[in-house]
Amino acid sequence: EEHMAYFDRLVQDDQRIEPRDAMPDAYRQTLIRQIAQHAHSEIIGMQPEGNWITRAPSLRRKAILMAKVQDEAGHGLYLYSAAETLGVDRSELLDKLHSGRQKYSSIFNYPTLTWADVGAIGWLVDGAAIMNQVPLCRCSYGPYARAMIRVCKEESFHQRQGFELLWTLSQGTDAQRAMLQDAADRWWWPALMMFGPPDSGEKAKEGHTAQSMAWGIKRFTNDDLRQRFVDMTVPQAIKLGITLPDPDLRWNEERGHWDFGEIDWDEFWRVLKGDGPCNAQRIATRVTAHEEGAWVREAAAAYADKQAARSAEGAVA
């Protein structure tokens, strides 16, 4: 009781909850699920971009891309560590990913078809991710908030690199400009779906948004964040000299925002439930790497045990 009062006060005062603090079980479970899903998204998100490492058209771009994919592995690791402070462990979370009991961002179920997709992921997908994640830097759970600060810093760097890649294409040959336009056409709507289904207006009572906001995990509704993203991104598209695949996209002077068209939520649910172009492939690649690596992890554990036994012997002797 007393503990919970302390928790409520911390949340109310916008202070951080730390691992040693008592917290409601539902809060803990919500965070575990959210942080794990976030970590999984980093790990699975390595695949669509990793697909282009061996084919990057210049060595500079190859280096940037390798570094980016590597950063994502790093983000995954911080986030699994943050989740571990809540009393789960990484291998348990990976098992849930591998068996489909925990999800990752559905955006990574789309294939990367051209080099421009690498840029589009940086620009749109990382752009949307940052929009979602910046508020999480002030999340009520301390380890998650701190992980997010580091992640956001690197992701905004990636986002700028993605834009710069596309900018170079926009200044290039006809084929390069066509590639750019095509990538924007394919990634725009999935990027808008990244903010999740509507949760404001009439929809405000459905879903987890209200509870997450009360707990200081979530700060803005999905719809608010989506609008911010559109407002930030449309001028960048104009700068790139491309169109976005939405006939209803127009500046609304009155609202001071960009209006945009209806999102195809059927597609969103379809892909989320497994009927996306790459769902099966992404999990299969991940599971194969994990299973093929089992003997390596076992060897490392056995070696560590031997070493520990040896130094214990040494200490005794």
């Binding site: 790990i43 390595m46 695949q47 990793g50 490492i53 061996t54 084919r55 990057a56 058209p57 210049s58 060595l59 500079r60 771009r61 190859k62 280096a63 390798m66 570094a67 994919v69 590597q70 592995a73 790093g74 995954g76 690791l77 080099w115 890649l165 170079t168 200044q171 290039g172 040959t173 084929a175 390069q176 690649t285 991940r286 194969t288 790497a289 994990h290 093929e292 690596g293 089992a294 003997w295 390596v296 992890r297 076992e298 060897a299 490392a300 056995a302 070696y303 560590a304 031997k306």
Partner: protein
């Protein structure tokens, strides 16, 4: 191509092609830490390759930059050893390859810090630190796998056997290297072999592994652009997009 350019290409192509193979590991490593570590080694080598190819282009004086050299040369013009172009095997094979290659690079770069080619000396100064890290990383894994489980010891030993026929080529005194050694630009590869073998042998002994017997066959010819059949596929993948857009900037 002058011998100076050919020497620089031999160094640069080793780094480039091995970086390409290491890039294939990302998302396929046995644990996420290892995706990062292999990515790191790959990135270091890619950085070395970029500097070396840029330098080769300068010395050549024909206006070719790193990308022209990486993306628009044909297979017979690549001068890397066959070790680095071999298709990705299992993790033990990769650690065997990395142990030998990084041990070689440690000796190589520490000699080249005093190259008469000052740009090359500068590259070597940075690269030697990287190579020491790579060698250490591979060493740690060879120890863990060799002295880990029974399965891992067997696989590690098999990895060493698989890689061994490609090792001798690193110590081959090809024409460009002989020229470079005479000029003080480079070093004779054969002069590095004892130190490389000493390091590898010490690691294997500690790891309870056995140095493979002299192989029945060993690779040769990479420095003259004679590669194994795996090389063409590697280049097809690496160069396809660049070749598909002649003259484009990325």
């Amino acid at each position: 191509t002058t011998l100076h350019v050919r020497y620089l290409l031999s160094l640069g192509d080793d780094a480039l092609v091995y970086a390409q193979r290491l890039g294939e590991w990302l998302t396929h490593a046995p644990q996420i830490e290892e995706d990062m570590a292999l990515g790191n080694v790959g990135l270091d080598l890619l950085g070395q390759a970029r500097s070396l190819l840029t330098r080769a282009g300068e010395v050549e004086g024909g206006g070719r930059d790193e990308d022209a050299l990486a993306m628009l040369r044909d297979e017979r013009e690549f001068r890397n050893v066959q070790l680095v172009e071999q298709p990705r095997g299992d993790f033990a094979v990769e650690m065997a390859r990395m142990l030998w290659f990084a041990s070689y690079q440690c000796e190589l770069w520490s000699q080249l810090t005093s190259s008469a080619d000052e740009t090359l000396a500068g590259i070597a100064g940075k690269a030697v630190k990287e190579a020491v890290y790579h060698r250490d990383h591979a060493t740690q894994w060879v120890l863990r796998l060799g002295d880990g489980t029974e399965v891992s010891r067997e696989r590690m030993q098999a990895g060493l056997e698989a890689v061994h026929p490609y090792v001798a080529e690193l110590g081959e005194d090809h024409e460009a290297a002989r020229w470079a050694a005479e000029q003080g630009v480079g070093v004779l590869p054969s002069s590095l072999t004892d130190a490389v073998n000493a390091h590898v042998s010490a690691v294997l002994e500690q790891a309870t592994l056995t140095m493979p017997d002299a192989p029945r066959w060993h690779a040769r010819g990479g420095r003259e652009g004679v590669h194994s059949e795996a090389m063409g596929y590697l280049l097809a993948e690496m160069q396809h997009i660049a070749r598909s857009h002649p003259g484009a900037t990325w």
